[in-house]
Structures are given as structure tokens and as C-alpha cells.
Symmetry: C2
Subunit: 338 residues, 2 copies
């Protein structure tokens, strides 16, 4: 039987959240007061000197690895790894600078290693980052034959003035949706179970995650302050939209094109679950004053991303409301429902 | 039959080195000229502003994880993870500042997660670092039941003046050995095969890796320039000693106490193999002018590490010669033999 939810697919996001909360609590030392508050917790920002800080983040590509292995196509997985980290850095207003990878496997395979490295370097080039280091671990008894894992670590540089804090967001601000390139790197445990191995949609799953560095960095440099909030639509799907400022209400009424692979899964899975698992065509959501909407949309279009106003911030009731689903149907996520 | 070499235990360090070389080659972009040259490649140093840069490194704990799992003792593995990264930062003269972890598992287990986190936080406290982020990934189909992997990413801050470049090392400089706490986190694929599961030495393997941050940071601050070179004795064992400046000859004649667990394995494995796989009692090697030897030894002893002059730099023939093995026996590693 097909799984109907992400939990049924084997991933308990609530338990994972609880662990992450414990981690944050345990790690909260006095020193953490030194960190600069950055919107959405996409990256931690550590002050270096004067008004210059660095943003730090880490991520993996999760089950997308297994789909790559199943199809013998691993030369773009590295792009996903870089993308997952870089798009997080952008959401706090940082300019990506350096990347390191951790690659662990049971037995080093030259072809596979080369393919992974090709993707990581492609991703770094797309993001304008330098790959400055990495660890390659051969762990014969830990990883099953042919299996491996990848983790990435990215650093960006941010000035105190360009830091995105989400504090200035207010009712009436516009939500600008930016197109995803496909499923990106989230929801794969569910997608892998819903889409048969022989389906032509399987290969589409491997389309590399979009990297939004070029347009975002250009906006940060040429239109400082224009981006008031940014949400990378990653694990948790559209519930990410509320992360830049959780005290507000967010309403989405327009939708970018939903990729076919998500339409296919949407026939088997409730919309509430789809929107909190997948990006549904919107890989990034930018929040801005009405006056800056045009310049932002232009910047993304210049980098060949589709972008449009998809909704706005409305009121101070913490929530995300998704309209435009056909008829009167709407989905409301309260901010505790992620 | 017991494996006699690290390769027989399933780890091909030559193949791993070849891959790492390819990686470096592929990643070498013009931008890499911006990096500051730092001794031994233990961390990459990226300039941030003026004379301030950051040192970046990543590492895992490898097969030590499996020994922890076998003994149900995982609450110090996080210390190993932090130690492996932090000791690398120290070798370029950086002061550790921030840490992030990547933790991936098949199914989140609260007790196990808490144990790992406890160790990571203990390690960060010992290193004077802040744990500023991390990724927890639940990958049901990638990791075997009960298995997991951990990677760490560490950043330190370094000024151009305190950067350890190894350039000033010269014949006559002293090698100061600093005691390890045991096997640390290297050579476990071999150790796990040589030491029977029921042996009391198995638990000794889990002694956490020493973190040398306190004495090294104190030396960097109070005696700038005293440390001319530093080698973290990590994967590759004592061949690491030559990393700070590969154009010189290094001769070791004195030995710190060799831990019992290494003596036990030394009965089954040739000394040449032992010294290029394990730390043999010396977790860190500091290189300094004769005049600074006393102050360096005092700093380590104040932090309860044993430290003593173990040898010196002798000549410009790139090599490592290990004496003091009994009789006339000596081991010579040329710099290409790692």
C-alpha cells in the first residue's frame, strides 16, 4: 500500500524536531548571545570583526542519494548538496564564500567519487563559492555495499547592515515566489515510495536543486534592504514561508507551475501533506515592500527563474493560509503545526 | 586470520589519497589563490577582512562509532568528533570558535541522540567553541538498523600574524611530543579486527580523543610565534609529523609512553605499519626553536598533558626517521610513502 504521509514513509518529522529542540536547548550557552539574530534560523551568524560576520550552515541531500544510486546517475547530486546549504545562507543575507564536504562510503569507488566531486564543483561554481576542503572516509563496516553519505558545510560573509532579520516584516508586504527546478532535495523518502522504479518520473526526481545565489547576491549588492525576508522551501515544504517572522500571518493565493511529479503524487496524497512536504513549484519565497517587487522579480527573471507575487503578509495571527487550490478549498497551518 | 595492515583491514589509504588529490586538482580555481597558505593542510584559511581570516575543517570519527555501538557507550563519541576537527584548526594557529554537526541515522533513537549530543557539547566546552548549528537527517533506507554517521565542521579565527605556515622551520628546531589520551579516532578499522570483542582493551579504545585547545590557544596568545609548526597525529599516524614543511628531515629518538592497546597490537603488526596507522602515544607534535621549548612544555603540563622533546629537524632530505625502537632498529618514511 502506498504511504499517505511522510511519517508513514518512515520519517518522523516531529521526533526530529523534538531532538533539534533539545539540541538547541543543550547548546545554548552564554556565548550564543554573541550570535547575530538572523531570520528563520537558516544559518547561524557569528561576528568576526566590526560589522562583518560569517553565516554557517550544514546539510545533506538525504534519500535523493538512493534515487541517484538506483539510476546510476550521481554526477549532479553534488549540486543538490551545495544548493541545500547555499540557499540557506542566502536567506540570512549572506554572500556564499566557501564550502567543505564530508563523503563517507564503505569502499571508495573511483567513478562514483569522481561523479560526486564533479557535482560538488559544479554546484560551487554556480554558487560562486570555493570548495576549500573535505573529508573522504572509507568505513567498510558502517556503510552497506555501494552505499555512501554526503554532508556539506557552507560559509557566507554578511555585514551587519545586509543581515536579513525579518524584524521589519509587516502586514501588506508581498510574498514573491521563485520557481523551483523540481522536487529539489526534500520529501524523497515519500516520493521514492510513491513513484514506481520503472516510471519515467523517477529520472525527473534527479533534476538538480536550483541555486539562487546569482540573483540574490545581485539584489543584496545593488538593492540593499530590498529583501526583508526570505524562505528556502526545504524540509517542511511551504511551512517554511513563516520562518522569517513567526508572529505574522502569511496568505498565498497564486501558484507557480506545479511540477508534474508533484501533481502525480498529489493524486495519492492529501494536499495538506503535499504542501508541508514538497516545494510545490516554489523553491524560494522572498518578502518585500510593494515598491521593491518589480526589481526583485526582474533580478530572478534575469537569472532564468520564474518569479511572481504569490501572496502577502496579512495580520498578526501566526499562520500560513494557502488559497488558489480550486473552489473554496484552503489549507491553514498554524505555526505550531510544522 | 588477523589482518596485518590497514589495507587488509579494508581501508585503502593510497586510493583515498589519490581521490583527495583529484579533488584538490579539480577544485583548484583561481579563487584558491585568495586562501592563506597554512602549514600541513590541516585546515583551509580564508581571509575575511584585513589581517583576520577563518580556518575551516571537517572530519568524522570513522569506525570508532561502531565500537561505541558494540559497547553501548556513545556519550563520548561527540568529544572525538569535536577533537578531530579542533586539533586540526590548532595546527594552523587558529583559535577555535564555532562547530556544526551532521548526524544521519536510519531511525532517530532519543537515548542515542542525547548521548551523541552530550558528547558534542562536552567537546565544544573543552575546546572553547560554540555549537551553532547542525543537521539531523533520518534516512530510513540508507543506514542499517541502529547505524548512524556523524560529521563535524569547525571554524577558528586566525590573524595573519599568528598563522602557522611552517616556512620558518629549519634544521635544529625541536620536536615536542604531546601525549595522546589513547588511540584517539584513527586506525579503528584495524584495531577492531585485532582486539577481540571480549577483550578488556576494547573499552579502552573508547577513551575520548584529547583536545589540545587550552594549551595551544594560551601559547598563541601569550607567546606569539613560539609554535613554528604543529602536527595533529591523525590518519597516517606519525607520517603527519612532516606535514608542516615537507622539504625537511625529521628525526624522532624519544617516545612518550605507548598505550597498552598499541603495545598489544604491536605484537601482531609490524612497527612500520603501527607508526603509520596509530599515534603511538603522541597525539600532537609541536615544532619550535630551542629557546621556546620550556615554555611550550610548561603550557601543556599545566593542562595535564605530558610533553617532552622527542626529536628534532635534521637536514633537508625530506623524510621521517624514527629511532628509539630498541637496538639499531629504525624506521624511515620518505615523504612519498604515506
Amino acid at each position: 500500500m502506498d504511504p499517505k504521509t511522510y511519517a508513514e514513509a518512515g520519517v518522523d518529522i516531529h521526533k526530529a524536531d523534538a531532538f533539534v529542540s533539545r539540541l538547541k536547548h543543550a547548546a545554548r550557552r552564554d556565548g550564543h548571545k554573541r550570535l547575530w539574530p538572523a531570520a528563520g534560523g537558516y544559518a547561524s551568524v557569528y561576528p568576526i570583526q566590526g560589522n562583518i560576520g560569517v553565516a554557517l550552515t550544514t546539510d545533506g541531500v538525504g534519500t535523493k542519494l538512493l534515487v541517484g544510486l538506483e539510476h546510476g546517475k550521481l554526477d549532479t547530486i553534488g549540486i543538490d548538496l551545495v544548493a541545500m546549504c547555499v540557499n540557506d545562507l542566502l536567506c540570512v543575507g549572506a554572500t556564499p564564500s566557501t564550502f567543505l564536504d564530508y563523503y563517507a562510503t564503505g569502499k571508495l569507488d573511483e567513478k562514483l567519487s569522481d561523479d560526486l566531486m564533479k557535482g560538488i564543483i559544479d554546484g560551487c561554481d554556480r554558487a560562486g563559492m570555493l570548495l576549500v576542503g573535505g573529508e573522504t572516509a572509507e568505513l567498510p563496516d558502517l556503510y552497506q555495499h555501494g552505499h555512501f553519505d554526503l554532508a556539506g558545510f557552507a560559509m557566507g560573509i554578511v555585514s551587519r547592515e545586509s543581515l536579513i532579520t525579518g524584524e521589519k516584516l509587516k502586514s501588506g508586504d508581498k510574498l514573491i515566489g521563485v520557481s523551483s527546478s523540481g522536487i529539489h532535495s526534500n520529501g524523497f523518502s515519500l516520493a521514492r515510495k510513491l513513484i514506481p522504479l520503472e516510471s519515467s518520473l523517477r529520472e525527473v526526481l534527479l533534476t538538480p536543486t536550483a541555486i539562487y545565489a546569482a540573483p540574490v547576491v545581485s539584489l543584496l549588492n545593488e538593492h540593499p534592504g530590498a529583501i526583508k525576508g526570505a524562505a528556502h522551501i526545504t524540509g517542511g515544504g511551504w511551512t517554511n514561508v513563516t520562518r522569517p517572522n513567526k508572529s505574522l500571518g502569511y496568505v498565498i493565493e497564486q501558484h507557480l507551475t506545479v511540477p508534474d511529479v508533484m501533481k502525480y503524487m498529489g493524486d495519492k496524497v492529501a494536499a495538506e501533506e503535499m504542501y508541508k512536504t514538497f516545494n510545490m513549484g516554489m523553491g524560494l519565497c522572498i518578502m518585500a515592500d510593494d515598491a521593491n517587487v518589480d526589481v526583485i522579480i526582474r533580478a530572478f527573471k534575469a537569472s532564468h527563474f520564474n518569479a511572481m507575487v504569490v501572496g502577502e503578509i496579512a495580520g498578526k495571527k501566526p499562520s500560513l493560509t494557502i488559497k488558489g487550490l480550486g473552489g473554496d478549498k484552503e489549507i491553514v497551518y498554524s505555526n505550531s503545526s510544522k
